[in-house]
Subunit: 526 residues, 2 copies
């Protein structure tokens, strides 16, 4: 009997040890993505203690491209490459989107108004003898969102070595949510169902604007689809789900491509009860909450009240994962203009646009303002490449900051309809490139770099995405699709070069320096 | 070289033979569910040639319960059991739902009207110089649907040995479709969105009324969900999908339980273009058709035009599987009354009905007309057992033929929301049984029979469903759930008997004969 027990004990211990050794430790290693053995290694700027949290390490890493913490990190190697270290000319005050004092006044006005309203709510609650959650706001001149907004300039949304971006990602992951509401574009509908406007089906109004304790603001898009699920083949692009992981992955891809035209996005688990229902002051929003048969907290699209609870999203029981996208400065202080994409699709079941039938469509566009001069068309090609890599067919408009005029960079907003299918490359997205046969030299060089095994796009994306708290963000099949699509783009450029010659296809937008840190942008640069 | 080829040939032949022997033949055997070796065996009524098609064999089987074609068929054994051979008293003309002459006149009027309209369409098409599909109707006094309608009587929708039922199933699978339209209840909405009526969410208006060449009519419900997919745990019962396979399985289950209160249902592949789009005369229906990005023919709910093409169902590229439910006689010649289920659920997110909170609810119901006399309550219990087995929570109303008055049997219509979850038994569906603690003796005896391994419910259901052209209809997990739920029902009855004694719980509704073919129904029989 005792021997039996010993045998059982030995077996269990063996299993436990095997489990720890083969399952648990490798998994922990994958999570941390940090070779613990080499934690003490030091770079040019000094050594780092192994106890520093990973996020902070990476944050610090970003401040100096020379520091090599992770010897075998393809992403670090990529960001150290000369192509990723071309310096912009010094940005003058007029080239910044916002003036410091103007933004601070705006911020103060907002905080004052908030404090006044907060007092009203607290008094009203006290009169009714109920308690409401009360989160005092912090007025922080060093807030990461403020620094992000102040850094936006005519060349980029944020600079490569801007540490406030990593701080902003961290804040969006962890900061207390003090208020939740519908987004402005949904409020504009005033609760009306917008079923006849095809471009923005209203059945999907599940995104929320969340205000953080330091008055930063993020747009929350909840998870709607499992990461391994593909968009059904019969779905039109304009009714496809919005995917939170596509929003996150698009931010990382945009940075890996060195475009930096996507506002920072991070994953986060939101407590639907504590961080939305209990703190919103919007009755419409409160009224779309319900408890599901499985006792989970859910909310649904306000347009489709009652019948459409199958459209709802639900927490488990309260926690719901989603993407947090940093807000750009408000339109009142930084107006933007929204311009229809010349390669817009027909948002109907049967319609076809001219570009789909006319292979000489680009010749027509090239003659039209604003595509007939400057680099607007080259910027469209950059956007095309970005959208083809993600598989996003829903780029009906693009936006630019009014302040920067026709030469402003294109904002790559709303990327949640990318990464819907990994098994299919939608070649029609590449039409602007294949029809116009032009591309920026800087973009092409970076794409070629990302094709090389030392910097392979899927590898640097996997590494970059592993820093998000909701990792894994993309399945391996989606990462493989990125490499395959990169090959498609380079082959398309190759066909153009063969037909028209490199001089006509590849447009020089900068002069490469000898080794890394300086450059001389020509007028074609961004 | 020649030797190599020989080797390759021998290998291939060996593989082929092995494939045929181990894979193909066993699979064919499973499909046919017929031990070919014993095909020549004979029963009391003579021997059957092995060349007779399976459907016909089964059809013929039904005509004599003594014939034993399938020695090891549990289903045949079940149908031969004395409990399944209790004869009803001779049905008098007044006990039939329809009079022969009345139905024939109705039929003739319909055909005449059809022919007149057909002529108008053909003339109109000729004037416009277009051709339209023209399917002449056959006026057949022996049509299976006519015989089904003529057989409906105060005890049952069809008798056990009615060969017209198998003929009707076959006709619904194969007969030419001559017309397609919305169903009457959808037309009653006149295209208005019924989003505020919670009971019947209008987002699911995808069922169609199809008219067959012999003027039979079937309701087509298209496939919406894969057979292995479970209803999401956060879905309320009233927004759950309608499942074509649930509709088919419910018909078979109802017959296996010997209730015969579900109109015949068969699976069928419908060509959406040829059998719906091209032959409908309803413009509203034509207008909800579109071609998907994957070049499949699709149609969607008319209420949700444009935005909601994600609600569409699509063929591959034209063929779409679905259920075909035989229509009951029209309401003008055989009116029915629809009565709210006393155990109706609250069709809202938060509401609770009295029966959910009050364990003595049945005492109240028992005192109310029509549950205070006759066998209406026992019929409700039968329906409860049927719904619990399928997992259907959506039984808000039940229907009876007005002609048969309060003693008419309950029709078990609309079963498409059953079989949504195999991993969960919804005990609340059993509330009428657990609260009232009564059950018909005949029902209980059949349930006990189906619990025995010689007749196991899952086995007879698997066998019965294997005759449908869309087999497999239910996954093994759903079949296993049937056995598990049967156990739950019998345990619930056991608890009642323990508490109240058998005499009070088990209500005798027939006196069993010595051996099989006669019985003496008491006033409690159906």
């Amino acid at each position: 009997m005792r021997r039996d027990r010993l045998l059982v004990a030995v077996t269990l211990v063996t299993l436990l040890v095997a489990d720890i050794h083969f399952i648990l430790i490798p998994r922990l290693k994958t999570w941390y993505h940090l070779p613990r053995e080499s934690c003490m290694c030091s770079g040019a700027n000094g050594s780092w203690a192994s106890g520093v949290p990973v996020t902070d390490l990476w944050l610090l890493n970003q401040t100096s491209t020379l520091v090599s913490i992770e010897q075998d990190s393809k992403l670090e190697r990529l960001f150290r490459h000369p192509l990723y270290n071309i310096r912009l000319p010094k940005v003058g005050p007029d080239e910044l989107l916002l003036q410091h004092d103007e933004l601070m006044n705006y911020y103060k006005r907002k905080v004052t108004r908030w404090e006044r309203l907060r007092k009203v709510y607290i008094d009203a609650a006290a009169a009714l003898n109920i308690t409401i959650p009360d989160h005092p706001v912090t007025f922080d001149l060093e807030a990461s969102w403020l620094r992000f907004h102040l850094g936006i300039n005519r060349y980029e949304l944020y600079s490569r070595d801007d540490s406030s971006i990593d701080k902003l990602l961290l804040d969006m992951q962890t900061a207390t949510v003090i208020s939740a509401d519908y987004t402005q574009d949904e409020k504009a509908l005033k609760g009306a169902c917008d079923c006849f406007q095809v471009v923005k089906p209203s059945g999907l109004h599940l995104k929320l604007a969340l205000k953080l304790q330091d008055f930063g603001k993020a747009m929350f898009k909840p998870m709607r689809q499992e990461r391994h699920d593909e968009t059904p083949e019969n779905f039109f692009y304009f009714v496809d789900f919005q995917r939170h992981n596509a929003e996150i992955a698009a931010f990382h891809l945009d940075r890996v491509l060195d475009f930096r035209r996507v506002p920072p996005v991070s994953g986060r688990f939101i407590n639907l009860t504590g961080e939305v229902l209990h703190i919103t002051h919007n009755d419409d929003l409160r009224n779309v909450f319900f408890t599901s048969p499985a006792n989970n907290t859910c909310f649904f699209a306000k347009c489709l009240y009652i019948c459409k609870s199958e459209y709802a999203v639900c927490g488990h029981p309260d926690l719901l994962e989603g993407s947090m996208s940093a807000y750009l400065p408000g339109l009142s202080i930084a107006p933007r203009i929204s311009i229809p994409n010349p390669w817009i699709r027909a948002y109907s079941f049967t319609g076809r646009e001219e570009w789909e039938a006319n292979p000489l469509y680009c010749d027509k566009i090239k003659k039209l303002y604003p595509y007939n001069s400057g680099n607007r068309l080259l910027n469209i090609i950059d956007m095309t490449i970005f959208d083809f890599l993600t598989g996003n067919m829903d780029r009906h408009h693009y936006e630019i900051f009014t302040k920067f005029g026709d030469e402003g960079f294109l904002l790559h907003l709303d990327n949640a309809r990318g990464f819907g299918r990994y098994s299919h490359d939608e070649m029609s997205i590449l039409a602007p490139l294949t029809q116009c046969c032009v591309i920026k030299r800087s973009t092409l060089l970076r794409l070629k770099l990302l094709e090389r095994s030392e910097y392979r796009l899927s590898d640097v994306m996997r590494e970059s995405l592993s820093r998000d708290p909701l990792t894994p963000i993309l399945t391996e099949a989606h990462l493989e699709a990125l490499d395959r699509r990169l090959g498609q783009i380079l082959r398309a450029v190759g066909r153009c070069v063969k037909k028209l010659g490199e001089a006509q296809v590849v447009v020089t937008d900068f002069v490469e320096s000898q080794r890394g840190t300086t450059s001389h942008p020509t007028e074609n640069d961004r």
